[in-house]
C-alpha cells in the first residue's frame, strides 16, 4: 500500500526540481537584449536680430555697412547644412526702389555674394559638412544709386537653412 505512493512522490519531486531549475536559470543566467533607439535629426536657424539697419545713407554711397547680424545654425545631422539668403528690392513710399543688385553679403567662409536682378531665389551664403552649432557672421552692404530720392526704404532679406 505504501509503495503505491512512491512513484507519485518521485514524479512530483522531479517536476518541482525541473521547474525550479528552469526558473532559476531564467532569473540568474546573464542574458542580453538588443536595445535600439532612433534619434531624430533637427535643424535650427536663429537670427541674432530682426532686421539689418543701414542707417541714414546718402545717394551715391557705395558699400554702406549694415548693422551686425549673425545666423546661428544648429543641427545634429552629420551631413551638415546649407545656409542660403535671398534679398528683395528695398522700397520707399514713392515709386523708386533700391534694387537688390545693390546689396551684397560677405561671410567668413564665402566671397562677397551678390544677386542678379529680379532674383527671387536663394543663393548659398555658407555651408558646413558636419553637424554642430555654427555662428555665422553676416556682413551686409548697400550701395545707393546716385539719383535715389530721399525716403525711408525697407525690404526683406530671407534666410534659409536646410540639411545638405
Amino acid at each position: 500500500m505504501k509503495r503505491r505512493w512512491l512513484p507519485v512522490a518521485g514524479a512530483l519531486a522531479a517536476v518541482i526540481t525541473v521547474a525550479g531549475a528552469g526558473a532559476a536559470q531564467a532569473a540568474n543566467s546573464p542574458g542580453s537584449v538588443t536595445s535600439s533607439a532612433t534619434v531624430g535629426s533637427t535643424i535650427t536657424l536663429t537670427l541674432s536680430a530682426a532686421s539689418v539697419n543701414f542707417g541714414t545713407v546718402n545717394a551715391g554711397d557705395a558699400d554702406d555697412p549694415g548693422s551686425a547680424l549673425s545666423a546661428t545654425v544648429t543641427t545634429n545631422d552629420g551631413h551638415g547644412f546649407i545656409l542660403a539668403a535671398s534679398p528683395a528690392d528695398m522700397t520707399g513710399n514713392g515709386p523708386d526702389v533700391i534694387p537688390l543688385t545693390n546689396m551684397s553679403v560677405m561671410t567668413a567662409d564665402y566671397a562677397p555674394q551678390t544677386w542678379p536682378a529680379e532674383s527671387t531665389g536663394y543663393q548659398p551664403v555658407d555651408a558646413k559638412t558636419a553637424g554642430g552649432t555654427y555662428n555665422l557672421f553676416q556682413s551686409w552692404q548697400l550701395s545707393v544709386p546716385g539719383a535715389t530720392p530721399a525716403d525711408y526704404y525697407t525690404g526683406v532679406i530671407s534666410y534659409l537653412a536646410t540639411a545638405s
Binding site: 505512493w5 512512491l6 528552469g22 538588443t34 535650427t44 536663429t46 537670427l47 530682426a50 539697419n53 537653412a161
Partner: protein, 177 residues
C-alpha cells in the same frame, strides 16, 4: 541676448511608401525665439538631392495647415499628405517653414525672414535601421539546475519518505466482519 527669431524643424525625414499610394506624416516646428512666429509652410526642391530626384509631378503633396502661428517655447505640427504616389525609386522634397517678420522698421532697413526646411526622402522601404549586434550570450547552468540534480532530488525524496514511514508505520485498518 535672446533672439526673436529661432525655429527648429526635423532636418531629415525618411518616409517608407511600402507599396501605398498615399502616405501621411507630421512635422514638428518649434519656436525657440522670443517672439511669436507667423509661419507659411510650403514645398520646394532645394539642393542637389531634391533637384536630382524630385517628387514626380503626378504625386499630390499637401500641407495642413499651410499657415500657422507658433508662440515662443511652443511646438506645433503640420501634416503632410502625399497621394497618387506610384512607382518606385527615391524622391526628395523639401518642406519649407518660413517665418515672416512681424514689424517693419523705418529708415533704410531690411527686415529679416527666417526659413528652415526639412528634407524629406521617399523610398519604398523607408529608413533602414542598423541594429547593433548583440554580444554573445554565455549561458550559466549551476550544478543544481540540470538533470543530474533532478535524479538526486527524486532519490532524496524517496529515501526521506521511506525513513519517515519506517519511523511512523501506518496501522492497518481492522477487518470487520
Amino acid at each position: 541676448m535672446p533672439s526673436p527669431v529661432s525655429l527648429t524643424v526635423p532636418a531629415i525625414v525618411d518616409v517608407g511608401m511600402h507599396g501605398h499610394s498615399r502616405v501621411t506624416f507630421d512635422l514638428a516646428v518649434t519656436d525657440h525665439g522670443t517672439a511669436p512666429l507667423r509661419l507659411a509652410v510650403s514645398t520646394a526642391e532645394l539642393g542637389r538631392a531634391a533637384l536630382a530626384h524630385p517628387v514626380p509631378v503626378t504625386w499630390h503633396v499637401s500641407v495642413t495647415p499651410a499657415h500657422l502661428t507658433v508662440h515662443p517655447g511652443r511646438t506645433r505640427e503640420v501634416r503632410v499628405t502625399v497621394s497618387g504616389a506610384t512607382g518606385t525609386g527615391v524622391h526628395v522634397l523639401n518642406v519649407v517653414f518660413t517665418a515672416r517678420p512681424h514689424v517693419r522698421h523705418g529708415g533704410s532697413t531690411d527686415d529679416l525672414s527666417a526659413a528652415v526646411a526639412s528634407k524629406v526622402t521617399f523610398s519604398e522601404s523607408g529608413r533602414v535601421t542598423a541594429f547593433a549586434a548583440a554580444p554573445p550570450v554565455t549561458r550559466y547552468y549551476p550544478w543544481w539546475s540540470g538533470p543530474v540534480a533532478g535524479v538526486v532530488a527524486v532519490a532524496a525524496v524517496i529515501v526521506a519518505w521511506r525513513l519517515f514511514r519506517r519511523r511512523h508505520p501506518r496501522r492497518m485498518p481492522a477487518h470487520r466482519g
